[in-house]
């Protein structure tokens, strides 16, 4: 299994690439990469394949195409003209505007697909572990909140059905009351039940004390220095270097205080993170992609990223090196299949 931190970097890289290009070749390539990774890395149970992404595309692409085609009146290839008196819609409908809209829909689908993969491969538990140990209680609360969401959705469905069978119809806002009240009460009852169960299992027995005042004071100081540095950076151009230094010091104080406070929380971890070679490979893959997208590397034609269909639709350029670079995102799928073979 790939570490949650490596997955986080992977998802962010997908986001960066998707927002850096509208070249359909690269966008489609990226979409295919996320689908391949989803198909190979998601746990078999609950694996949904490419179906949710395709379903999303079936809505997002036509909607974006239509919206952009009707509202953006740029481009040379005019297909038809809407009467000028129509507010917003009036004017020429061009092939270029439709194409650009479709590209936007495709990009949205790619981002959706990337995060759908991230969602499937990272258990709630691992995400919560990313919270600093000093905030362990907050992490647990977050974890519970996240498991409460699907439970609440299920109870909402149950309550709607139960009210329908006693003749209830939802017509206006007031009609939601018979649904909302049982939902709220059952949620509260569940919270009380969970609290009781957690107390019975010893939760809060050893760490039932507030953070010492010193920790809070240093945390406040760190935040103050960071904020001050940031404001100076924004509004005092001549003090930029000092401001940057201030921001770094502020972050340093906060990280240090959290580490020290975390050590004081007596708590052990059942499955500690173990950084493996696979994780390094995933990070290297993401690094390659980010380098190709963001750095002026020799031989790589980054200009091909900045494709636009305006003013006249033309075949987008394709640089094989950029295409190859994007394949760095497929590393999680490669290490996953490598593992299952071994």
């Amino acid at each position: 299994m790939v570490d949650v931190r490596a997955w986080l970097l992977w998802a962010l890289t997908v986001l960066v690439v998707a927002s850096s290009t509208r070249n359909p070749f690269y966008v489609v390539l990226l979409l295919l990469v996320t689908m391949v990774v989803g198909a190979t890395c998601a746990p078999v149970r609950g694996r949904r394949g490419a179906l949710p992404s395709l379903r999303f595309a079936a809505v997002a692409v036509p909607m974006a195409t239509l919206f952009n085609g009707l509202t953006a009146h740029l481009g040379d290839t005019v297909l038809l003209r809407l009467p000028a008196w129509l507010p917003l819609l009036g004017g020429p409908v061009t092939l270029e505007a439709l194409a650009f809209g479709a590209l936007n829909g495709l990009t949205l689908t790619t981002i959706f697909s990337g995060f759908a993969v991230f969602n499937q491969v990272t258990p709630v538990r691992d995400l919560v572990r990313l919270t600093p140990r000093a905030f362990h209680e907050a992490g647990v609360v977050l974890s519970i909140a996240l498991t409460f969401v699907p439970q609440t959705t299920r109870s909402l469905a149950r309550i709607r059905e139960a009210q329908a069978v006693r003749g209830h119809r939802v017509r206006g806002l007031r009609d939601w009351l018979p649904i909302f009240i049982p939902l709220l009460v059952s949620g509260l009852e569940r919270s009380m039940g969970l609290a009781e169960a957690m107390v019975a299992r010893g939760y809060g027995a050893v760490s039932d004390r507030a953070q010492p005042l010193r920790t809070q004071a240093f945390l406040a100081l760190g935040l103050f220095v960071l904020l001050g540095g940031w404001l100076a950076f924004l509004f005092l151009p001549s003090w930029k270097a000092v401001a940057l230094g201030g921001m770094i010091v502020g972050v340093g104080i906060i990280v240090g205080v959290l580490r020290l406070a975390g050590r004081a929380v007596p708590r052990t971890v059942y499955r500690p993170y173990r950084w493996s070679r696979r994780d390094t490979l995933v990070v290297l893959g993401c690094g390659l992609v980010l380098a190709v997208i963001l750095l002026p590397l020799p031989l790589v034609n980054r200009a091909t990223l900045a494709y636009t269909p305006f003013p006249r639709l033309a075949l987008p350029p394709f640089d094989p090196l950029v295409g190859l670079g994007l394949l760095g995102l497929v590393v999680p799928a490669v290490v996953a299949t490598g593992k299952s073979r071994s």
Binding site: A162, A164, V165, R166, P182, G202, A205
Partner: protein, 541 residues
């Protein structure tokens, strides 16, 4: 191990104590069953063992409790968590994270157990309840029985000396309940773990326990009631409502009282008067054979995302007929009920109520003529008073001015007259169930569909429900019940329909369908095979 010394406890705001002057001793390694009607204070007594009462609930407490040398009242539930493992009714309500292994690890991480020891403990806990193959599974993909075993493993990982279980199988179907009980029996036999378990359905668990404690319902005047405690047979003699086998044994004077069908067979082999009776076959509810068809379901098909849940189901229910629908979990029982009231739309087939097709009609509209009680009645209740719940349904159907049935009469019939102004959610499980029944039947529907109406009910509440159903039947209502409770079904049914994997595989009289089923045969049917007898009344009448 456990010592209650003149313990009296009153909930905050309650005029009388729920536990009055309880004195009890439980030895190490004992498997103790705690029985008694709803509201007798079983859960309260269990919660005194780890200090949840009074630390979590408030209230006033006198007397003392000692558990393995600890004082739960003074030390509190967090400290007692190292000694007492506590399992609640609903396994889902106690989970913090979403994966089996992580859930078991949660309490250990909080207790700062070193990782090496933690691994060993988790391994052992999963092994003890047979969960090793499921260790990586997300919790929401598990069955009810598997979830409850995860909760037990999570408690075992803390190495408790005492396991306390509050109706751990009340939310489970018979197979899942059997799994959980088998795990508990093994833990008690192999590890000598002391266990205290509260339960309504005694028949399954009685053969395994060393001691039975019976808490009678508290008296209205707050007077003292005697808590019975001792070997199961001794206490069963003093209890009113017992499992069918024990009731039969008491009626026929069998000594020692049989707790299992095997034990009872010794008596049926010896006693000739029983053998002679076997020849007389009985006819149950002869009036149930003449019916005008009320509900007609024909060739019904339904699938969830291509997964068939109902396949070619055909079923009729006549006026005044009570049909029980049985089958394992996932066999399509609830799906069938939902299709009838229009909550699900069948892909094929036809449903008619009194000759009128129901297809295309809204659920809210259909339910004026069909009273449907869903599995979790709490989802229905939201009004401030019991009486108001009935009014809401009438208002939804526009029947407030001329109700088909006087709501006060209905409340009286349901035994809720005294509670008409109470807040529904404060009532006991059985009472809430009856409020929900009132809310769906106040339109005087001709057909009643009840999904697991006896969940969490004690023997008294179940007996009362049968009486109520008989009254509705006599007025001509057709009734379709879904239940896992075989003993109760044997009492109530005119006809039994068995579903398996979405198909109706048996449809006939209870004696034909139930007696021949290995999984669903009631105790009496297993004791007297081939006689058609299902209940104690069949034998002793």
């Amino acid at each position: 191990m456990i010592h209650f010394n003149h313990l009296t406890y009153t909930y905050p705001g309650s005029p009388r104590p729920v536990l009055a002057d309880v004195t009890l001793d439980i030895a190490e390694g004992e498997f103790v069953l705690l029985a008694g009607p709803s509201g007798a204070g079983k859960s309260t007594l269990l919660r005194c063992l780890n200090g949840l009462v009074p630390h979590f609930t408030g209230g006033t407490l006198s007397g003392s409790v000692t558990v393995a040398g600890h004082d739960p009242v003074a030390e509190g539930p967090q400290v007692l968590s190292r000694v007492v493992g506590f399992i609640f009714q609903d396994p889902e309500a106690q989970f913090v994270v979403d994966r089996v292994e992580d859930e078991v690890a949660f309490a250990l991480e909080n207790a700062a157990i070193p990782p090496a020891e933690m691994r060993a403990r988790i391994e052992q806990a999963l092994d003890l309840v047979d969960l090793v193959p499921l260790r990586d599974r997300p919790l929401d993909t598990l069955s009810g029985g598997e979830k409850q075993r995860v909760a037990i493993a999570a408690a075992l990982a803390l190495r408790p000396r005492l396991l306390v279980l509050d109706e751990p199988t009340s939310q489970l179907d018979p197979q899942s309940a059997e799994e959980v009980l088998a795990a508990l029996v093994r833990l008690n036999r192999d590890l000598g773990l002391t266990m205290v378990l509260a339960e309504h359905r005694l028949e399954r668990i009685l053969p395994h326990v060393h001691r039975l404690i019976y808490l009678p319902a508290p008296q209205i005047d707050g007077g003292m009631v005697e808590v019975l405690s001792g070997p199961p047979r001794q206490v069963l003699h003093q209890m009113d409502l017992t499992p069918p086998l024990v009731t039969l044994g008491k009626a026929l004077g069998w000594e020692p009282l049989p707790l299992t069908v095997e034990e009872a067979r010794h008596f049926t082999d010896r006693k000739s008067q029983i053998a002679n009776r076997k020849s007389s076959s009985i006819i149950r509810n002869p009036q149930s054979t003449i019916h005008n068809p009320l509900l007609a379901v024909r060739s019904l098909h339904f699938s969830y995302d291509g997964e068939p849940a109902l396949r070619d189901v055909t079923l009729t229910i006549g006026e005044g007929e009570l049909v029980v629908l049985m089958g394992r979990n996932g066999s399509g029982k609830t799906t069938l009920l939902k299709c009838i009231v229009g909550l699900l739309c069948p892909q094929q087939g036809e449903i008619r109520l009194a000759g009128e097709p129901l297809a295309g009609r809204e659920t809210a509209d259909v339910c004026q003529n069909i009273g449907y009680l869903p599995q979790e009645p709490d989802a229905l209740l939201f009004a401030d008073t019991v009486a108001e719940e009935l009014q809401v349904t009438l208002r939804n159907h526009g029947l407030v001015d001329h109700p088909p049935l006087d709501p006060t009469v209905l409340l009286e019939r349901l035994g809720l007259s005294d509670l008409a102004t109470s807040y529904p959610r404060d009532l006991s499980v059985g009472q809430r169930q009856r409020v929900a029944l009132g809310a769906v039947t106040v339109t005087r529907p001709r057909l009643l569909l009840f999904d697991e109406p006896t969940r969490g009910m004690d023997y008294v509440a179940k007996r009362d429900l049968v009486h109520l159903l008989r009254e509705w039947q006599a007025e001509g209502a057709g009734i379709l019940l879904v239940t896992h409770d075989v003993e109760w079904a044997a009492q109530a049914a005119d006809r039994v329909v068995m579903l398996r994997q979405g198909q109706a595989v048996a449809d006939g009289s209870p004696s034909d369908v139930l007696a021949g089923s290995p999984l669903f045969a009631p105790q009496i049917a297993r004791l007297f095979p081939g006689t058609g007898w299902l209940t104690v009344e069949d034998v002793v009448s």
